[in-house]
Assembly symmetry: D3
Homo-oligomer: 308 residues x 6
């Protein structure tokens, strides 16, 4: 006899009005057992988790599907997910299609006005809406926003903007428009673009945007999806992953040169969030399928947790 | 390195203030995968499920632990559980200890005043509080009640009470005190004892109590835990389980003699609940571990679902 | 011509859905005049009053009827009553019926596991439900609870538990489940039994339970119904009742030996409540009919009021 | 020893912030016993009672004190009192002092512009504020209003206004400003003056104003304080009081001439209120002390109750 | 073709249930342009503005019409207006009509009991209701109150009351009854009469009443309508208007004798309000049409703004 | 002396946290007088107005500034504005820059996948965010959304999509995410792009989107900004503007051929909105500066109002 509920799964009158698309989870190899996840679900229900999405997890369709499935599941069991993203490789591709020559200064891209125009169109008009549509299709309800909307983020030129163009820092955060969304179990999907007080758009570092939002929302957790395994005690030894460390410890690792390069701004972002009251922050491995679930719903985790 | 969260799991400020006791789930053999359960969690979040607990699942400690684990898990992922129980074998044991001679009429026990006194003490003062303590220990928050409290159930003598003594029917249901509990994610645990308008306690059939409560609460689902596999097309053939049937179908099975004996009052109870607006009812196999989870979170189910 | 309202008195749609049973008040000899009670009703409307019920007032049916009538009346004119009770003589009677030999150590009863089982059954399953039924019959709405329900009280072994068995202290109070009840004009009736974190039930001193609940609820008043007239200046002289005294004064009386014996723990309980913010506490004479009304609704009072 | 509470009675932080003045009740001869009043308090708690005050009860200071004491007591035990008054003899006295010659037409006073000016000043600026001050002094909180305020009553000229001047009918009622007052346990005291759409004040019959307000508020009860015992079966026989009658019965009494003269408009006012949903109406004897309490809190009553 | 909306303007179901009377604005010569007023409307929307009305603006009908039009407009665009008034010349006129001889002491009127009676009748029963009717007619909703109502203002004898009679100071302010009115976009119109705890009415200075109300309401702005241009740097030079000054500056002007005479109590009233948290206060020229609008909705203002 | 408020205008703690930029209104030639606008502000305060923005008003910067100024002003005086826009000429320009050849069928553009990608990026990522930034800069708070966000609009292929590509009809509207925004005085700015149930984006006609949103929101008014004066009685005679017409009348004009061509779908859109409960609809002249203000705040209007 055929399944009894299947035909009925589209009829949720309450809160979750759309069924999860089953195929979304076809490749869900982690197989977290419900009962094992229970204590973590209990711990995080009703808590706000800000996830910065980018890097490899954005480039691979399979990894993207896994991230989308994870946040839908987490929202479904009662967590308040805020999803912040950058642009990934699509920006370069569109700049190429429009024959806008990349202009670099000391290895950093110069974001002139016409580049900024493309950045905004791609991030807000394409990537953001694609992510919103994927989440909606998977059964949760997403609302795409940028920092411009509701003055969520006000930008100011970063100190090196005279050289690098419209690269901005965050002058202020106003999460007013986010709260009713997460209170309604909606998932805000936020493109890291913001305007200054004159309405000029700026490109904002997505890690920074996620960290400042987590602080302004009093989040339980900030999670940065990256292309590394986490913080390694010995960068040569992939088996030397530091699973948990506090601010003091990680500052020592920076002094000792063990944390270096591109990891430093990510760690700094975590430290700033912790200093503003976020309870824990994690730098996790976005190259792993379902690393978000592993980080939140298992004791093992999927990278390095930095605590205050 | 030891688990990162374990030491922290007791610190839920929000809603779930006590950690699930891990050992509760040690024997959780069903191993329902979180992602597979997701569509069902979505479907039932925020919905009220009334569970009638009794029979074998009450007699075996292992089965009891499995039922407790299941309802804690279901409450934790957002379902509103109302847990109704009868007395099980403890009543007989205490009657024996007190040398109260069982008195039977046509095979039915006569509940005289002194028997009723024991029934109430055992159901309300022992079984109920034991279940509440088990649920609390497992990490959810239970509140034990009887039909007397808040006039939840008003009893009246059943037609045959002149012969059988203080065996009552339900004259009215007032679920006022239940709603704030389930709105707060608490689990009401209800002993099937009620008083009439003069304050005289009566023993109430627990299936009936569960069914009337489900109707008064506008529940999504009524589940009766029983000592059989469900409704069988052929009572001789355990493989002939009817997984889903509607009112018309099951009435036909009664007419045809396929549903008979002790199953008839259970089916009738389901039909009355459906007629009063409960969306689905299930008669499931309480002899199976985690049959509640199987019934609610899988398409397979754990018995027979009767629909309107 | 017959009374105009009588036939109509059952039709309260609002809040008070059941008529007061007139006979309840037949023996209401105090005859407090409505207009004289008015300033006190004004003073206490909407305030929380925790009443510890026990002793003689529990043993005599007439006194019990008077206490029930009083709390129904007080709830009806707008006070928020929380009613805490111990077990009275019924526990001994049931222990006798079950041939459980009382075991005493230095004059204190040893509560072993089988004694505790009976204590819980009698307090929660019999006394509590009887009180609930009496209040309901008198026209108010009572909800019976124990300290186990909703983790209202968490117990821990008292220092002398190694000798005395399951006699517990109160480790914590969580009045979450009480507030919606008293906000709805319901009367919580609380049996002084609680479980520890492992679910093991303990017998809790009912005075202590009432005092800690009063503190946790920020009550206006804690009233202990006792078998004495109150605190006497001269224990030989029943006319030397101290009507009002402050903490400093009553501590001096203990030093001077004027307050002694079983009165000391009651006074200490009052002092602890006052120290935690309860506004006034009273030790009143439960042997007097309607002493609760006299204490709350007259300036004369019915015992000794201790203030901060 | 002196009273314990007296010095404390001024300290009600909650709702009732001012003590009842004890002397107000000195002459409270009715002596309604609190316990006897209880079922009626239960019945009417939270219900809206509109009282029309006038006649003898307004002229005698002792009767006025008794009425004020009654409504303060009724508000204190939880009824929602709306107090509507006319002008009494003060209007004539002030017209006299200002040498405004009364002008009569067929025995009815002509309310010209200068008369209307005095009517408004006396009713609103003197009688109303005096009543408000008396209620406030007695410990409740009154708010004085006229039909002009918040467009509570909109007037239109009555059919005979061309001859009688500014005598108005009620064109519409908007009780918006009354509800937050009675929800806060305040007592609205309403002078029966209203303006038309052009702002011209009119004198409104106070019985009519009370009746229309009762209807607009969905009141439980409309009580008209009058100078008669109620409706008599035989106008010659004071012992023939009709305690309760329905609309049909009272219409018959009008046809039969048993109800006649000034009683007819009062009865008609009751009938209109009943037709608009007021549950019961009473015409009571304002010459009796505490007739309001007798009517509301005893089965005996203090006049004639007309029901729908 | 005739106007499309005109016939429809009476049909506001929401909040503003009555159309503005067009003719009210006929003489609106200031012609403030909507777009110019916008930043000020933005600034003051939802803020509480207490306006003291008296003097010339009360004597001239044209000025009165202009003030009424202004407050209706201000309430309509979202400001919360509280309107406090004294008595103007009407009191003298009525004292004359009643042959009550004015009695002066050192140039100050003695308010004996019979004078106070007239003051209350005129202020509360005539002036107040006239203002309420004018505002209602102009399309907003006014509610007339005195300090007696809801114990809004409690009076105490002023130090010189033994000589001057019933002239009172303000002992306390309880704005409970004002808040629901202004939250509903109603305009409270308050006559400056209050009673002491015994119910004795007193005449209260209207500037003082307005200032204390502004403080108790946490108002954004207190505006005193006066018969002067504001504070002049040089009293001989009308062109020397001080447009803005802080407390320190205005205290210096008093010391220097530049602020003197009747201006001193008005300035003191402003200083007291500022000290209690009112953000700005203004002394404006009530002889100018629409000075209220000019003060609130233009940068120019209409007098002197004193800031903290 | 310099302006008193200017320096202070940035300090709105309440609701309007950003000052209007004064220069925005420099060219505000209509000069609507505040007092003349008052009755219309009264009429529309708190009402929802859906504005479809497009055409000439989008192409000219001066007209765009005028529209932005108008909606900021309207929101500021309390109207709930929902702003729906299409793409204007920017889409073509970007298609050109990307060398995507326009493909026409019977004069209609074929929206293939790569065209749709550009449409979405331009509408959502560029035009929408530009409008949001302009409104924010002008002092109100805008939130940019598309039909994809929160499943605001679900698309389905339009009947001719097989030929025309991703041109969609509206299958359903869910305004859940709009309500908290307009309740908070935010201005939703909505790009007319929506996804079907599979997440595929479609281009939606902006008039249709505005009309369906107005219906779903129960709007007071739908306003379509167009490039014509409104409906003309005689298309040759610009002076023959029909200021107001009902559904029956305008259907007759279609039959008579007086309404033809591109005006027919606009009129049909209005009729559908009216049929679903929108109170009035207007087709106004977007080529006029401040036509929105003229339409809403004057009796003259700025085009044709169609009523039900």
């Amino acid at each position: 006899m055929a399944g009894r509920y299947i035909s009925d799964l589209g009829q949720h009158e309450h809160m979750w009005t759309h069924p999860v698309n089953f195929s979304t989870f076809d490749e869900f190899e982690t197989g977290i057992i419900l009962s094992e996840a229970l204590p973590f679900i209990q711990k995080f229900r009703g808590k706000t988790i800000v996830v910065k999405y980018g890097g490899a997890a954005m480039k691979s369709e399979a990894l993207q599907a896994s991230v989308i499935a994870d946040i839908v599941l987490l929202a479904c069991v009662g967590l308040r997910i805020v999803f912040v993203h950058g642009g990934g490789p699509e920006i370069n591709q569109w700049l190429g299609r429009l024959n806008i020559q990349p202009n670099f200064l000391n290895g950093l891209r110069v974001t002139d006005a016409s580049t900024m125009e493309i950045v905004s169109m791609v991030l807000v008009g394409k990537v953001n809406k694609h992510l919103v549509a994927l989440i909606n299709k998977a059964g949760a309800t997403a609302v795409g926003l940028s920092g411009i909307d509701g003055r969520l983020l006000i930008a100011r030129p970063s100190p090196n903007s005279s050289q690098l163009g419209f690269v901005g820092d965050i002058a202020s955060v106003d999460p007013t428009i986010i709260r009713p969304l997460i209170d309604n179990n909606h998932i805000p999907v936020i493109a890291s673009v913001a305007a200054d007080l004159n309405g000029q758009p700026y490109n904002i570092n997505a890690d920074t945007a996620a960290g400042e939002l987590a602080a302004a929302l009093g989040a339980e957790k900030l999670i940065l999806l990256t292309d590394v395994a986490g913080i390694l005690e010995n960068r040569e030894d992939p088996g030397s992953l530091v699973k948990q460390i506090d601010i003091k410890g990680v500052k020592k690792m920076i002094e000792d040169g063990k944390v270096a390069g591109g990891m430093i701004p990510k760690v700094s972002c975590c430290i700033r969030s912790l200093a503003q009251g976020v309870r824990t922050t994690s730098i996790i491995d976005g190259r792993l399928k379902h690393s978000l679930l592993l980080e939140i719903l298992t004791d093992e985790g999927a990278g390095t947790m930095i605590t205050g």
